[in-house]
Symmetry: C2
Subunit: 233 residues, 2 copies
DNA sequence: AAAACATTTAGGTTATCATCGAAATATGAA
DNA sequence: TTCATATTTCGATGATAACCTAAATGTTTT
């Protein structure tokens, strides 16, 4: 007689390396069609299709039909958090080439996690907002101070637009590379989106890495007091 | 070319249901000999031995030899956190009997997670300490205020004794049943230990559940302002 | 030294499941 | 309608790994 949640069922879904590639490809919150995922995982369409249906059955992914394409994405932010958390005890990938080592540095430096910022950048931005008392951790979630609401407005985010019914407003998410928390939830997503709008960041083609632009580098230094090496692309 | 940690390797270790039983049996932080684990998982000694060596190889467990027995336990608190986190997206166990339903309630109400308190009790104790400003969340870890240091001393915990070199002092750990944070780390462990010393809690024989005694129920109400239904055993 | 106990190793069996190609289904374009 | 594209279903194959019994190793007790 068991009383605990069935964790081996979820672990089994993540355990297959092809499915792990699929999940990792969707870790930046994007939706991809089955054929694209088949290409990324280097398996046949029929194989990827079987994997995708298992992942949907297990509520790790959701699917949306657009014409003859079916777009798959992570079911929710919690799934991304679990994958990120697993990374904290998983062995690091073996570095076999200079190119890989450079990509690894980039990913650790700044990347997306679901739809928010992670890596050194994500952690430092979160910490800066806490230090400035823009956000405050309360009961396991972040809340925005009165001062913070004004700060966000001038930054281009209107807190009042948050759709708190559909999604948790703001919460900490453990970062595998930094082993510290970065901000997730609606607010985490809004911050990341604004960074891209302001052209502070550009996306990598191949990985979840993001790059600070010249403009972005200057801006986070001035507005948040964050000194980060501008990563070489 | 991959740059992310090898999460499928860890997931594979958790994916087997026999290994999941082993891990869950050790989730309260105890050390158990191989034979005991074989009995709990209902497999032969040779089978459990093979599983245990895989779990040790993967750094999920550590083993200590005492005479002819070999005692296995979780390698560290992070492993417990990952398992607890997986529980937040795993399907709840199907309840098949009245007895099981009652055990499930008990486990949700109050249990151990590694060596600290979890469930409704763990979350409420943590929240009470935050509300009283005994502990403060800072940079992803809890710190103890000056006021808090006195509070803990009168409670029977000397913060100065913390062995911060060997272990994180105090940090939040996500609770699968409450979906909120409870306190973990050295301090979380010290609090739980003190609860048992003061005879506020007794342990279940079969599950990770713990029960508030009459004394404990009164004490948490008076000292922390926590109103909890005393769970029927 | 011998017997008892705890655990691991070895060898063989079986079940599960990832995989593929081919065929089937579904949708959009011509 | 016919053709092209995207995806799923089906059936067969092969590899992996969990499992057991029996034997071997290691440790304690008598």
């Amino acid at each position: 007689m068991n009383v605990y949640p069935n964790i081996s069922y979820i672990a089994k879904l993540i355990a297959d390396s092809t499915r792990a590639i699929i999940l990792e490809s969707l870790m930046n919150g994007q939706s991809l069609p089955a054929s694209e995922l088949a290409y990324m995982a280097k398996v046949s369409h029929s194989t990827v299709s079987a994997h995708l249906s298992k992942l949907v059955d297990g509520n790790l992914l959701v699917v949306e039909q657009h014409g003859r394409h079916r777009y798959y994405r992570l079911a929710n932010e919690e799934v991304a958090e679990v994958l990120e958390k697993l990374g904290t005890i998983a062995p690091a990938v073996e570095v076999r080439s200079l190119r890989q080592s450079s990509q690894l540095k980039q990913v650790r430096h700044a990347r997306t996690c679901y739809d928010h910022l992670a890596g050194e950048l994500g952690v430092k931005v979160t910490q800066a907002l806490i230090d400035k008392e823009v956000i405050i951790l309360k009961e396991g979630e972040f809340i925005v101070s009165d001062k913070g609401e004004k700060w966000f407005l001038s930054f281009g985010i209107n807190i009042k637009e948050a759709n708190i019914k559909r999604r948790i407003f703001a919460k900490p998410c453990l970062d595998w590379s930094e082993r510290r928390y970065h901000i997730a939830g609606w607010l985490g997503s809004a911050i990341a989106t604004r960074f891209f709008e302001l052209e502070w960041l550009t996306k990598s083609e191949k990985t979840r890495a993001v790059y600070l632009t010249e403009k972005g580098s200057k801006a986070v230094q001035e507005q948040l007091g964050i000194g980060l090496e501008k990563e070489l692309v």
